[in-house]
């Protein structure tokens, strides 16, 4: 659409402008200036000058450019920003630190120079580095990155202390700063899992405690929570199944028993429990299948034997 606009521009220049304008939002500073990642400030500056010869708004003074006027403005301002950032050493460091991918690319380029070996740093240099890092951390460019790192490290500390909900909050904050950060994403999944596991365990403990006090209702509720939080918590599932069996709710009991068996397929007790419940509710064929599985797992189990006799058709 824009390409067909009638403006006082040569076709080739129009295409150049459109191509560069498309890069305004996506390209990094090096790419935008058309220099290799990690190009020196001098290279950056001369690239900027070359680009200015083409795209400085003054080059099109008083011309009818239509929508291209805005595009040019955008392009030139972005060029200025890129030049300003990459030629000022402090800003450049901050920019590279905030964009580790560019830094890595820059390293890969400069890494091809095997002669370069960093000198070991003296104590004062180390101190100065630390001071500089601290100063950089306050720089607006880095503030985001610093903040993100802060959230992540706080989250990790909380994970260590098993305070998963706090860890979760911190990670959520981090994700808001940079939703695409892979580390944060992975941590979030991990923490969610761990938080579920720990909740499941604590609910189970809670349930046992309630059971000791004789509060069966609360215990059943807690066990349900434990199983929901972690479907693999077979202890909780089995316990819930037997409690529901006792209370006469065979449907719930069967459900939990099923979960327990799924979580721990090799446990004979669970199989037997499930089989018994199924049998009681009239699902003979299924029950038989589970009894057979149980007998295959442990033919010496007393209940299996008992049932085996009963079911044995011959």
């Amino acid at each position: 659409m824009a390409a067909e606009e009638q403006v006082e521009l040569e076709e080739s220049r129009k295409q150049e402008i459109l191509a560069l304008d498309a890069k305004v939002a996506t390209a990094n500073h090096f790419e935008f200036l058309g220099v290799p990642a990690g190009a020196s400030p001098d290279e950056v500056r001369s690239a900027f000058r070359e680009a200015s010869r083409k795209f400085h708004p003054d080059k099109f003074y008083g011309k009818n450019l239509g929508s291209f006027r805005q595009r040019l403005d955008r392009i030139f301002k972005r060029l200025v920003e890129a030049n300003q950032t990459l030629t000022d050493l402090e800003k450049r460091d901050a920019y590279l630190a905030a964009n580790p991918f560019i830094r890595a690319a820059a390293r890969a380029v400069s890494g091809s120079n095997p002669a370069y070996k960093p000198e070991p740093k003296t104590e004062t240099e180390e101190a100065r580095d630390l001071e500089r890092r601290n100063r950089l951390a306050r720089h607006p460019y880095l503030a985001r990155a610093t903040k993100l790192q802060e959230f992540v490290s706080r989250a990790k500390a909380h994970v260590e202390k098993q305070e998963y909900s706090q860890a979760f909050t911190n990670l959520n904050n981090a994700a808001q700063i940079d939703p695409n950060n892979a580390e944060v994403k992975a941590l979030l999944i991990d923490v969610r899992k761990r938080a579920d596991l720990s909740r499941s365990e604590s609910s189970y403990a809670h349930a046992m405690e309630a059971l000791n006090r004789g509060d069966t209702d609360l215990a059943m509720q807690a066990l349900r929570t434990a199983v929901n939080a972690n479907p693999l918590n077979h202890k909780a599932a089995a316990k819930a199944a037997s409690l529901f069996e006792k209370s006469g709710d065979s449907r719930e009991a069967t459900g939990f028993a099923q979960k327990a068996v799924e979580a721990a397929p090799t446990n004979v007790e669970y199989r037997v429990l499930l089989a018994r419940l199924l049998e009681a509710s009239g699902m003979k064929a299924l029950a038989k299948k589970h009894f057979e599985e149980a007998s295959r797992l442990n033919p010496d189990h007393p209940e299996v034997k008992k049932h085996g006799k009963k079911l044995w058709p011959f």
Binding site: S52, R53, P57, D58, Y61, G62, V80
Partner: protein
């Protein structure tokens, strides 16, 4: 073709002198004034008979009319009345200043108070007339230079002056940058250069890199209250102090005496650039109050003494140089050339100091008084002529920021950023249910808000009700190619847009500007040109008649010959063109047609004579 283009001019609107230049067939040239001089004194006066005088004649009558003669108005343009610099300047000025409606400065001439843009416009109009006399047609488009260190308010006021003078100001550019343009234009210069510009009122130092027609300013700095006027003032003070010691009379309190001292001081200073010693003679400078014979002032000023008096001023220029070179991360040895601009750089002591600091002889190829106007003309050409391969990457001389809590400044665009540029900053509400946000825009380098120049303040209203910090407003600060600042704001959530032109709080408002423009409908010159066109049209019609009469005769005489047919065809064509031209309003087309027809007539007559009719 080049001549067909509308003429554009470059104007160096100086503190003491102004110059106008243009680019003619690829070369920048200074346009000589109608009075025969290249320099027009930037002086405006109201004569005793009530006439407005501009330039040399205004300067000449200054001694007898000190209270109604305005010089060095550039030092006050765009400033606030309450500013410390204004109050300082007030003490040394023979003319009367008044405070305007919004803390701006007005100059009282007769019974009317003039704003500074109006006064500068009178100088600009004079230069415009000079240019029109040169081109023989109206000149509308101009570039005006300002000291690099001018802030937004001063730039805006200068632009207003241009508009009042009836000029379309294509661009405001920086004087040192203009000087570099003039220096580097048409030469294949590559490398870093420094421009040291010590003019009548201001000092600028800029470091830039030139390569392939790109003029890239790296850093710029200066002082808008350091120039030739200050050198004159040290001499005036020295003379006045001496006189007081001797006769116990305050010469500076007497406006007429002050004006004479000023003239004498400037003259002595200029003479000491070439001579070792000069006499200052001011007979009858004062009469003692109790009667008695008139007193005369007679002093000898040596170059040494002048250098001693002004040593501090010279040292200040070097301090600025050091600072700007540090900012540019350039050492004096890295520089390829050092350009001196401004009349004050003729002073031997200044040249020595510069030589000592930069460790090189300054460039000899540029004329310190004219180079800025020439550069402005180059830039005007570059903007209006595609073929000119020049790009100017100028920078903003001062940082732009906003006032934040505690009276501090948050800097958003640092000084020496290439313009045009913009930055977007998010502002939050700081109270629950806050519906307005006030943003104060500041220019300057001080960390404390009130020590910077307040460009303006604006209030964002109608923010939605929400908890503190929840409403986020995107504020975009923009500096355009002229160093002028604009601000726009947008509520992030609702997208509600607000745009604010930061108008300097001390300048003319839009309404005032409009009123001034209306008042003085600047049609006089155009009317004059129109009359000229009318007269030429009459001449053209007479010629057309003559050619039409000659044509049948010629046809008879040259019957059938090839040459005759050819000549007749051409003559017919010329007549056609002339017919169109006779309706045209442009002087150029009419005169061109007259030329063609005159040639045709003389050709016809020549042919007829030879054939023997």
């Amino acid at each position: 073709m080049a001549a067909e283009r509308e003429p554009v001019i470059g104007i160096d609107l100086g503190t003491t002198n102004s110059v106008v230049a243009t680019v003619q067939s690829g070369t920048p040239v200074v346009i000589r004034g109608r009075s025969g001089s290249n320099l027009l004194p930037s002086v405006v006066a109201l004569s005793k008979t009530g006439k407005m005088l501009v330039g040399q004649i205004a300067k000449r009558q200054a001694i007898t009319n000190p209270t109604d003669t305005v010089y060095a108005s550039k030092r006050l343009i765009g400033r606030k009345f309450s500013a410390a610099q204004t109050q300082d300047a007030l003490k040394g000025l023979p003319y009367t200043l008044e405070v305007g409606d919004h803390d701006d400065i007005r100059v009282k001439l007769g019974d009317k108070a003039y704003s500074l843009p109006e006064l500068s416009a009178m100088v600009l109009r004079e230069l415009k007339l000079d240019a029109e006399a040169h081109f023989g047609r109206p000149v509308k488009k101009a570039i005006i230079t300002v000291p690099a260190y001018f802030n937004d308010g001063q730039r805006q006021a200068t632009k207003d002056a241009g508009r009042i003078a009836g000029l379309e100001v294509l661009r405001i550019i920086n004087e040192p940058t203009a000087a570099a343009l003039a220096y580097g234009f048409g030469k294949n210069v590559n490398g870093k250069i420094a421009v040291f510009d010590l003019g009548g009122g201001t000092f600028d130092i800029s470091v830039m890199e030139i390569g392939n027609g790109v003029f890239d300013v790296i850093a710029t700095g200066g002082d808008t209250f350091l120039g030739g006027e200050d050198f004159d003032n040290t001499v005036i003070n020295w003379l006045a102090a001496d006189f007081q010691r001797e006769h116990n009379i305050q010469l500076k309190a007497d406006r007429m005496a002050l004006q004479r001292l000023k003239d004498a001081a400037e003259k002595a200073k200029i003479e000491l650039s070439t001579a070792k010693e000069t006499q200052i003679n001011l007979p009858f400078i004062s009469t003692p109050q109790g009667g008695g014979s008139a007193l005369h002032l007679q002093k000898t000023l040596s170059r040494e003494k002048l250098e001693e008096l002004t040593a501090e001023l010279v040292a200040r220029t070097i301090t600025h140089c050091e600072q700007v070179l540090t900012e540019a991360k350039v050492k004096p040895v890295d520089l390829r050339e050092m350009i001196l601009v401004g009349g004050m750089t003729r002073m031997p002591r200044v040249q020595e100091a510069v030589k000592q600091y930069f460790r090189r002889d300054p460039c000899k190829g540029v004329h310190p008084d004219e180079v800025v106007a020439l550069g402005a003309a180059v830039q005007a050409e570059a903007l209006t002529n595609e073929a000119a391969d020049v790009v100017l990457l100028d920078v903003t001389p001062q940082s732009l920021g906003v006032a934040i809590a505690g009276g501090y400044v948050r800097r958003l665009i640092p000084k020496n950023t290439t313009v045009p540029t913009s930055v977007t900053e998010v502002f939050n509400t700081s109270r629950d249910n806050q519906t307005t946000v006030k943003i104060m825009v500041l220019q300057g380098e001080a960390d404390v808000a009130h020590q910077n120049e307040l460009l303006g303040e604006f209030i964002l209203t109608g923010l939605r009700l929400a908890k503190r910090g929840e409403v986020e407003v995107d504020v975009t600060f923009e500096i355009n190619s002229e160093g002028l600042v604009s601000v726009s704001a947008r509520d992030k959530e609702t997208g509600q847009q607000q745009s604010i032109q930061v108008t300097a709080s001390g300048g003319l408002t839009q309404d005032e500007l409009k009123r001034i423009l209306d008042e003085q409908a600047d049609l006089m010159l155009e009317a004059r040109v129109e009359e000229e066109v009318k007269a030429k049209r009459v001449e053209l019609k007479a010629l057309m008649n003559e050619v039409s009469e000659l044509m049948p005769q010629l046809q008879k005489a040259t019957q059938g010959s090839e040459f005759g047919q050819d000549a007749l065809a051409k003559a017919k064509q010329a007549l056609e063109t002339a017919k169109v031209a006779s309706e045209a309003t442009e002087l150029k087309r009419v005169t061109d047609s007259i030329d063609t027809l005159t040639r045709t007539v003389s050709l016809f007559k020549g042919v007829l004579q030879r054939i023997g009719h």
